[in-house]
Amino acid sequence: MNNAHVKNFFPAWLDGKLSADREKKLERHLESCKECRDYYQKMSDVLKSPQVSRLKTLEPDPYLPTRVKALAEQVKNKKQITFDPQWLRVALYSLLIAFALSLGGFMGYHIFQPQPDENDLRITQAYYQAFASGSVVDRFENYLQQQQEDAQ
């Protein structure tokens, strides 16, 4: 085992992920090689035993709870002032959609309504005119007969 190679095994060795065979070879090497032994020893110490007491430690602010309560109340009050419930929005949007669909259907029906047949129009006209002058039934019958003869 050369030294560079041994150093490459260190992360796996640290996590206990080396095979038993590899670990035995490594330990034999470490017994005989001071440089690698020092490397393993120092790196293990640094990574396994952090000197947390040597880090700067902050003291908590004793007034923080008061500020937190005040901030939380502020946010809560802001939410209460605006009246914007979810259900109202849903109802409003549904109403708008229903109105738009109705309007569209109404306009579509009147724009695309089929035109009445000219013959039908004349028959209807004659029927109503006949009502205005007497003998409605006779006149209407005569007229219908005329139409049938014309069609033939």
């Binding site: 260190f10 992360p11 640290l14 996590d15 992920k17 490397y39 120092k42 790196m43 110490d45 640094v46 990574l47 952090p50 000197q51 947390v52 040597r54 880090l55 700067k56 430690t57 902050l58 003291e59 908590p60 602010d61 923080l64 709870p65 500020r67 937190v68 309560k69 901030l71 939380a72 946010v75 809560k76």
Partner: protein
């Protein structure tokens, strides 16, 4: 609750950010969230786990936004200046955060040096390493905290340590 956990959350924020002012602001944000959501806490876990989860997520979100802001600032300049600025700031950071290994360094400063090296890791490797190293959490606890599978946490810890080892090697003689 603040008396019990306030100091731990504050120092966790400090470990994540390295800045006292930001750590205090983030701690305040965390406790505001805790206060607002206390009624919704369903006791499915301990208070400590719940507060830690809120805190960790908040710190991670802050650090992600900070990372994006740094890139957005670079968008305002042309490409050449952006590269130069980034290189300059990297060189400045390296010089000030990691003084030369040839210089003498006090033993009491070594842990600070390690923490600064940890700060230079990508966020996804830095987070589990900080929780393991400074909060004494195991992989299972970290996976619960970060909502990640245990295997992912272990992989990230392994990679984080690999990068850290490479950074530590020139400094080993001081330890």
């Amino acid at each position: 609750m603040y008396q019990t956990y306030g100091a731990r959350i504050l120092n966790l924020a400090f470990r994540f950010t390295g800045n006292e002012e930001i750590a205090r602001d983030l701690t305040q944000d965390v406790f505001v969230k805790v206060y607002q959501n206390l009624e919704n806490f369903k006791h499915k876990s301990q208070y400590y786990t719940w507060i830690y989860r809120i805190a960790t997520n908040h710190f991670i979100n802050y650090l992600k936004k900070e990372g994006r802001r740094r890139w957005y600032r670079l968008l305002d300049v042309n490409i050449e200046d952006a590269v130069r600025l980034d290189q300059d700031s990297m060189a400045y950071r390296e010089k000030n955060i990691f003084p030369s290994p040839e210089n003498h360094i006090e033993k009491k400063e070594l842990e600070n040096l390690v923490l600064r090296m940890i700060h230079s890791l990508p966020l996804k490797y830095r987070t589990p390493l900080i929780l393991q190293r400074y909060e004494g959490m195991n992989s299972r606890e970290i996976s619960g905290m970060l909502s990640l599978p245990v295997s992912t946490v272990e992989t990230r810890l392994h990679r984080a340590k690999k990068i850290l080892i490479k950074k530590l090697e020139p400094w080993l003689k001081h330890f």
